[in-house]
Symmetry: C2
Subunit: 332 residues, 2 copies
Amino acid sequence: MADVARVAGVSAMTVSRALREGAPVAPNTRARIMKAVDSLGYVLDQSAGAFSTGRSGFIAVLVPALENSNFADTVRGLTDALAGSGLQLLLGQTGYSVEQEEWLIASMLRRKPEGFVLTGGQHNRRARQLLEQSDVPIIETWDLPKSPIGHVVGFSNAEAAGELVNYLHRKGYRRIAFLGGTGERDNRGADRRAGYEAALERLGLPRGRVISFATPPTSIRQGSEAIGRLLDLWPEVEAAICVSDLSAFGAVMECRRRHLPVPQRVAIAGFGNFELAAACSPSITTVSVQGYDIGQRAGQLLLRAIERQRQGKHLLRQTVVTPYEVVSRESA
Amino acid sequence: MADVARVAGVSAMTVSRALREGAPVAPNTRARIMKAVDSLGYVLDQSAGAFSTGRSGFIAVLVPALENSNFADTVRGLTDALAGSGLQLLLGQTGYSVEQEEWLIASMLRRKPEGFVLTGGQHNRRARQLLEQSDVPIIETWDLPKSPIGHVVGFSNAEAAGELVNYLHRKGYRRIAFLGGTGERDNRGADRRAGYEAALERLGLPRGRVISFATPPTSIRQGSEAIGRLLDLWPEVEAAICVSDLSAFGAVMECRRRHLPVPQRVAIAGFGNFELAAACSPSITTVSVQGYDIGQRAGQLLLRAIERQRQGKHLLRQTVVTPYEVVSRESA
DNA sequence: CTGTTAGCGCCTTCAC
DNA sequence: GTGAAGGCGCTAACAG
């Protein structure tokens, strides 16, 4: 910057101003400076700038995974909401592990993010403690935690799964199974299962038909295998709810391979409304959950919170409940 | 850090050392310091550290998109390769736009990344210039550029598509169509199409049956629509190559909706070997391209390049050609 | 094994 | 509209 200043015949401070929007610099001074910048190939050192101002310009974002999930939609929603704000996403993948989450939280806090977006409301003790004492605006997404750390943008996975059970019940299905992970790692999956169990109880339906498959991320293959086990164990089952559309798709394809008509022999429902679910044949009944909107709303909320933060104030805790909806299709 | 030093009765420098691995600090001094760190809830300011050392600890990574693509696999491969190195990914999505790419490159270079991973070998003038004058180790992936900027980890999309044509030709198909984007934005898609055209020519097959659909990201729906247009325009077509497995899946599902047997009425092949392609019925013939390995190899290469860089040396330009393979399945 | 000194490159603040 | 001084929090380098 000193070099640029020398070439342009001004002080470094004026270069600094010229390189920012909205700082008072005479038009021809700025032009001279820009010429010098170009001729020297100067690139502003944002790490020094961040250090000097104390504002990193980062938003930390943790998602379980980017593949085979709709968290990528949430990331895109965040990106779009934050476009033009000068804030950059620092993205981490927890791999559905709370230990990995804790590690990432600790490592990202060292970068002094101006906001923190988490997926889900379940974290281990130390993770929670780190976040609470950090004084960074925090948003938990994709869930409605009982005791949130900061702001929340999400929905109740349990309720949404319950709605799906209600839907199947209205359609006349009674013996309804659930295919999903063990719940040790996928908290949202566990919530969905809990909502399914609660709905069965509420409706007085027979319980106990649950197939657990291995750890997330949920794959198509897991759904194929699970429906096979399900029909071997409980051939009387009339409908199966899968923890995600991917496993539902696997289940549907496995049924086709076995020449079992869906939904006549067994109805299948998924979760998430992936593009896959609408496109495949039979199309898959599912719950649409607006992953993109969650990201966008979280981004908007964060922008307000950060603005407040920069003024030394705080934004009151907000909870944004995003809608979900059962999407009725051919498979159920 | 000064506060911690005071509480622990040492100098700030010793605290700094104690907080790093492998620095010489007496065990009980370190223990005292750690106690002080915990009691004060001190978090190391990495932005100051990065500034001081001149090493940001960032790797910039640009991918076209995270949803509906196998770039998320590459990101995971990179993440795994870089785990434990202390390097963090700074991830950007270009949305398949070179302008957006240029903007992201400029913005990320200000953060002083220690490495830069790009998708594809086509960039606009200024983007290339920025990267060349940056002195940051650069890796272009998912492609074999004619004049690479730095290192390369990828494969020839044109050749891979050509192999797919060869495969179909061996299977007896002659009138082979291509369904893909316009190529203005998706460079890898355009390369695949070019490879398809070249292979037709080489084999003396009839040309001209190309359906272009709108801008990427490639969706399932685009494949459904394209196969419809294709069969309307050229009912004599025997096989169709889709630019990605997603559009191939859309095409297969559309054929089922129209009660056109695949591959008897028309064979369909995809690209990418998504899990979808193996799982659906009929399963989809495709080209497997190892997105995860590309990321992992890129990460390993980057680690070596960065090590050299830190010693003030340079790593000679490397090109890693990753394998691809036609996967024969039911759809063709 | 520990301490002292100096400086990374920018931006805030104040002065003109 | 522009410049000068000083400091952000850490770590490299050197000394002991």
